[in-house]
Symmetry: C2
Subunit: 478 residues, 2 copies
């Protein structure tokens, strides 16, 4: 299989983005379809990405005082029903356990779609005094939501995530927490995943079932569709009232606690793929790549080549995540494609001549360029190049957002844009759900968020022409 | 609440070991009961133990070439039914999902009790050539087994675990893998958890449903009952045949692959508690303790005390897991009990006088002894003491096993021992299930394992008097 044939297996992203995505995730062995429709198997290479995401986020959660715990998978139906809005939002999409062993259960249990209800039940037992607050707990877990239309990572009936659930003695402190985690998600996307995001809050219609406010980070995929990438909810004391979570304040009076929750899931892996990938395959930001450097020997049967490859691997492994590809059944060309498809940021090629000259070739996945470097300089060169790739990938992603961000002053302009293009369309909005519903009906785009960074585009709501309340980002979404 | 009152809350372990266990797990806030019977909530302190276990085992799995992946939670009934012995073993204890969203499912799905069947289904797709082998995959996940009698950590309807599933091209290689992981578990228990284990294999009757051989590590709890603490299974090609997992060997011929699986679960936390705990509470081996050193200030309102505590914490945190307890609503005595209950290996006490003298008090949880040490020497002193505690706890656990290991030459001696005592009883066994069933019926003890280290106790099976095949360890078990 030569170079061209290998790439030919991947559908061109400009011709069929959805098929391109499917090709990438299967061929790079990130994921496979499970026997039950809508479920996925996360294969080792995909799971290694998730492990890196977990490691980084988990450290950030712990730095900000959160501790991990684990709550049960199965939640009694009556418990799910306690908070009205919440159950309305989730009941239609949960899986129900009706039998345990050989017996039918007295009450059916839902497989958690999210854990607010079970966690609130426990919190109401644990919290007595203001001294027990804040309570800052996170959980890494699987959840199940019975979805009709599914795509691996982006929308699956089971996914992995973390869900933080915190309790506070004041509304102000809970609001601060919500925004703090919102910012941690945004910084994580920028600094590790090289994904620029819009930070803002959801409209009334789009917010989480049971929340007072939902904050979201929205990312724009290569095809101009938006991906909701992480949400943080402020609940006020809605759940505290439904679940009777009370504490004695400093004055000795009983009060309901204030609550937040926030989550990021395996969906973000879909975001990495669709932000950075190209027609050769995945392109992984160095800060998250399971393999940052792969060393591919040339003429590996020649004396000393494999020794040198091994030597280099040992040197570089001290600081970087390094792999070698010494399979003797494949040609270097095949291996180049193999690792490009898997998005490894740097490839080192090294043959007998290079070794003789004390040199090797460094290939950058982001810009597909080769450079001859001195082996003696390799450590500093790799450090510099990885940093450079990380920065460059972020810049390219920012440029993609800029190139696909439009402004519409009125409905006509709005429809025109969505007739021809995909992207963010910024509009002024009066704040009424009527206008929100209208653009969805006409273009299947939605209000992604009311961004913190407001601009005054005009004095009229782009849909109804009345006085605007906010500037909003709209887009079609995953 | 003074010192004595606090300890009084814990039932004396010699009076009622089961109640002592319940007191410890609840009062040390390791766990709480979930609303659904048989399920547990793992609270942050308990989960921190699990995180440490995960971190150490995960590194050992990766060092030995394994990669993590994630397979779906829900398994179609027809898939579970494919391996006859397996389904017979597990079907009576699985939870069934019958509805997804608002619709009844065409085929019911079981919540995984273990993942052999779903993993084999995927492996049969992935494996084509001997070059794809060995396939070495591990999964960290939750599993559900509908249990009738449950106790937190020891036996719960949902628990967390890791399950390794590997495929090999030869029986010999798969057997080696099974024994390699068996040894990793045993070494982990010894070197990190300070738990001595008996290594051996299960009898035909006690082995895993579908396995050719099951290897087990057995630990003896403080009350003389055994805990099966980690198992490794060799499947031969039983599952490969049921799931059609074939590969082309080097000669180009199709063969069935050889398979293993191995697992350790949150149950081991129960093992840590019941191996080391005492009437003051938990006693945690330093190598696994979430907090290795706690610093408790004396007269913390006095000038400079809290500064010095903070300074010391910062110094020690570089190498150790350190906590401070500067809560102003509690007395030092209360705090001492609080951290003793939680099993923290070393407590540092420090008041104005100590600081003036450049000293502090070091308290060892394992032997309940105090020592005055120089603050200048604290780093090396703590390093040395932690190592010493780890070693001493292992020695104490070994002594407990020795003190509770007996030999019975015949049934009369056997019954006599189990009338009065709990512990391991070593006997010669002919190998027949009849004899195995008999001791269970008479004493509710079982054959825990056929140990690798055989001894020749006599020329007769202790039960039937016929020619013996093995020396075995028997015990009552959790």
């Amino acid at each position: 299989m030569d170079n061209k044939e290998f790439v030919k297996d991947i559908t061109n992203m400009d011709e069929d983005f959805a098929q391109w995505y499917t090709d990438i995730i299967l061929k790079a062995e990130l994921v496979d379809y499970a026997p039950v429709k809508g479920f996925m198997v996360i294969r080792p290479y995909g799971y290694a990405l998730w492990e890196n995401i977990q490691k980084i986020l988990d450290a950030k959660f712990k730095q900000t005082g959160h501790k991990n715990a684990y709550f049960p998978l199965l939640i009694p139906e009556s418990m799910l029903n306690k908070e009205k809005e919440h159950v309305e939002g989730f009941a239609p999409e949960v899986a129900w356990v009706t039998h345990g062993g050989e017996n039918e259960l007295a009450e059916r249990l839902c497989v958690r779609p999210t854990s607010e209800t079970i966690i609130c039940t426990m919190y109401s037992k644990w919290i007595k005094s203001h001294r027990d607050l804040p309570l800052l707990i996170n959980q890494w877990a699987n959840v199940v939501r019975w979805e009709k239309t599914t795509r691996p990572f982006l929308r699956t009936s089971e996914f992995l995530w973390q869900e933080g659930h915190t309790l506070h003695s004041t509304a102000a402190e809970a609001k601060d927490e919500t925004l703090k985690m919102h910012k941690i998600y945004a910084d994580f996307c920028k600094n590790y995943l090289a994904i620029p995001v819009i930070m803002g809050r959801k409209s009334e219609k789009e917010k989480f079932a049971g929340a007072e406010e939902t904050y979201t980070i929205e990312a724009l995929m290569h095809d101009g569709k938006a991906l909701q990438s992480g949400t943080s909810h402020y609940f006020g004391n809605n759940f505290a009232k439904a679940f009777n979570i009370k504490f004695q304040n400093k004055e000795g009076k009983e009060e309901f606690a204030y609550q937040t929750s926030w989550g990021m899931s395996t969906r973000i892996i879909g975001g990495i793929i669709m932000t950075h990938g190209d027609n050769r395959g995945l392109k992984l930001p160095p800060n998250i790549a399971p393999t940052q450097v792969v060393i591919v020997p040339i003429a590996q049967h020649k004396d000393g080549v494999l020794d040198k490859v091994e030597e280099l691997k040992n040197i570089l492994s001290v600081k970087y995540r390094v792999d070698t590809d010494i399979r003797d059944e494949y040609s270097p060309g095949y291996k180049f494609n193999y690792w490009e498809l898997r998005g490894v940021p740097i490839r080192i090629e090294m043959g007998p001549k290079d070794i003789e000259n004390g040199e090797c070739i460094l290939f950058r996945r982001d810009i597909l360029q080769k450079e001859v470097i001195k082996i003696a300089d390799i450590d500093s060169k790799i450090e510099e190049t990885l940093a450079n790739i990380q920065e460059n990938m972020y810049k390219m992603a920012v440029k993609n957002v800029e190139d696909h961000t439009y402004v519409a002053q009125n409905l006509e302009e709005y429809l025109e844009i969505f007739n021809e293009k995909q992207g963010y369309v910024k509009i002024m909005w009066c704040g009424k759900q009527e206008c929100e519903d209208k653009i969805k009906e006409l273009t299947s785009s939605t209000i992604r968020c009311i961004p913190f960074e407001q601009e005054n585009l005009s004095e009229k709501c782009a849909i109804c022409g009345k006085m605007p309340n906010h500037m909003v980002y709209t887009a079609r979404q995953y």
